[in-house]
């Protein structure tokens, strides 16, 4: 009976190990709240952590406050969401206070915080990163891939290997924190963009941002519903594309990947990990299953891993690479 004995903190047989390490930071589980979802306030971030998330990301902030686009900005079109929030945010000077407060609330829960930032220029990214750095987030994520600002800001940096590398390198100069670069699926070769940001100093990759942009037209009104006309597509409809992107990126780089796009349940999360993701972003699923979705996905992961006999996530990472 000696073998049945377990020591405190020891993982008992049959309890799958969901912990992961991302750039030297330990996550109690791989689920990450994706940027732009519920990331507007410190208490809300803490609530998501309490619901089970292993890491949380703030709503992307930029150099100055932005109103964002007028409504309608977010729609559920049946197979996913489409949004053109337009990076509404209070500006970095205000955001650092939220980040600092969120850090205080998250520390006791041992849930790391990712500060997501954006800017219209390479220099702008460095300026925002430098300010955000002072609030001591665990990671800085560069959103170079928002698809619904093209009219205003031009083609996203993530659509060009050179631009993506320049943004990454400029932020690398101003911070020693791990940098996550968030890539766009709206390119012909996402692996080459991943390779170029790895070269420029990225510590991890988040993929994917929303797909598109797309458009939904109301046939009674005879016009696009989103005030911005176009918006980024997310949710279940984009999952196969997100999985393929993660699969391609895993082959191209050494740095870890946060696989994001359409993950709604435990099965989807394991699928991302098998494609090569170290951690798994969850966004639109909050629409379908509430802020409690994180705890629910974890339970499903545990149950599925137990029933198949998988012991840990580390042993599953990238196993679909054939």
């Amino acid at each position: 009976m000696e073998s049945m004995h377990s020591w405190p903190g020891e993982i008992t047989v049959g309890e799958p190990d969901l912990t992961v390490e991302l750039c030297g930071v330990r996550l109690r589980n791989p689920l990450v709240l994706a940027a732009g979802i519920l990331g507007t306030g410190a208490e809300l971030l803490a609530r998501v952590a309490e619901s089970g998330a292993g890491m949380v990301t703030t709503k992307s902030c930029g150099p100055a406050p932005r109103e964002g686009h007028p409504n309608p900005t977010v729609l559920d079109w049946g197979h996913g969401l489409i949004n053109a929030v337009g990076l509404a945010n209070p500006g970095v000077d205000q955001e650092v206070k939220t980040i600092a407060r969120a850090k205080d609330l998250l520390s006791p829960l041992e849930v790391p915080l990712v500060a997501s930032i954006f800017a219209g220029t390479v220099e702008g990214f460095a300026e925002v990163a430098q300010k955000v750095d002072e609030a001591q987030p665990d990671f800085i994520e560069l959103n170079i891939s928002c698809p619904n600002l093209a009219a205003e800001m031009g083609r996203p940096f993530a659509c060009d290997t050179g631009d993506a590398a320049r943004v990454t390198a400029s932020v690398r100069q101003v911070t020693t924190r791990p940098i996550i670069v968030k890539l766009s699926p709206n390119v012909t070769d996402i692996a080459s963009v991943a390779r170029s940001v790895e070269h420029a100093g990225a510590d991890a990759i988040a993929a994917i941002n929303t797909l598109g942009p797309g458009m939904i037209i109301d046939v009674h009104a005879g016009r696009p519903i989103l005030a911005n006309k176009v918006g980024g597509v997310s949710g279940p409809a984009i999952r196969p594309i997100a999985v393929r992107c993660v699969y391609d990126i895993y082959q191209a780089v050494e740095i870890p990947i946060i696989g994001t796009g359409g993950v709604s349940d435990g099965r989807d999360a394991l699928e991302m990990i098998m494609a090569g993701a170290t951690a798994v972003g969850v966004g639109s699923a909050v629409r379908y299953r509430g802020a409690e979705v994180f705890g629910a996905i974890l339970e499903e992961m545990r149950a599925l891993m137990t029933s198949v006999g998988y012991g840990s996530l580390v042993e599953l990472r990238g196993i679909a690479q054939v």
């Binding site: 809300l44 409504n71 519903i225």
Partner: protein
């Protein structure tokens, strides 16, 4: 759930500032829930339901969007997404309903659904008598209606929370339902805590998605659009 077009069947104007729009069609909902109203080319904003069958809205003209809604005519269309949020939980035998401004809108819906209650008293307040509305709707739904005006031009003088306080102290109520301006809700919340009576208050915030993902409507970690707009207050909260 995309916005769905609905045609205006009837327009009533109970006060100079408020119009009630009755639409063709139904949208099964719980009292206290709201819809996002889209006017193509203009904007999309939240409105409480006054009824779900037929769909009815009460619109106070206070700015550009609501003013445009006031210009619509019978036969014109509106686009509605919803219903959204957590509405009023119907509980108790003795209910006090307190409404300020267009806060009366969801209370009228609530009153029509609290058919099991033994007694319902509705206290509705406004600055002046001309601004009071839906007293007949509330009475028709079985409420004893108490009118309150700040300028004493109709009913009792004062604000509706003064009357609510007196009623709560003098009589027995199982539950307080409230909707209206922020100050009024704060006072009601205080009363519920002090007197140990469970309350349910409907709150407001700027909304985008209305489905609990964008975080625009967050207040202290709660999402007004999904956790609310109706929140419990008083004992045990």
């Amino acid at each position: 759930m995309l916005p769905r077009p609905m045609t205006i069947a009837r327009i009533d104007q109970p006060t100079r500032k408020v119009k009630a729009l009755t639409l063709h069609g139904r949208l099964p909902a719980q009292p206290g829930q709201f819809v996002m109203v889209w006017m193509p080319g203009l904007n999309e904003k939240p409105f409480s339901l006054v009824d779900d069958d037929p769909v009815t809205l009460a619109v106070a003209s206070v700015g550009p969007f609501s003013a445009r809604l006031h210009e619509l005519e019978v036969g014109d269309r509106l686009w509605l997404r919803g219903p959204f949020g957590h509405g009023f939980d119907i509980v108790g035998e003795y209910a006090l309903l307190v409404g300020g401004g267009y806060g009366v809108a969801p209370l009228a819906f609530l009153a029509s659904r609290t058919i099991g209650a033994r007694r319902k008293v509705a206290v509705i307040g406004a600055a002046t008598g001309d601004e009071l509305f839906f007293e007949h709707r509330l009475a028709g739904a079985g409420c004893e209606v108490v009118l309150v005006t700040e300028d004493c031009s109709a009913g009792e003088g004062g604000v509706c929370t003064d009357v609510a306080e007196r009623l709560l102290q003098d009589e027995t109520f199982d539950v307080v339902y409230g909707c209206g301006p922020e100050g009024m809700l704060e006072t009601l919340e205080q009363l519920c805590s002090e007197l140990g009576i469970p309350g349910q208050l409907s709150k407001e915030a700027y909304m985008r998605c209305a489905m609990g993902i964008c975080g625009s409507c967050e207040r202290d970690g709660l999402l007004i659009c999904r956790d609310g707009p109706v929140f419990p207050v008083g004992p045990g909260t």
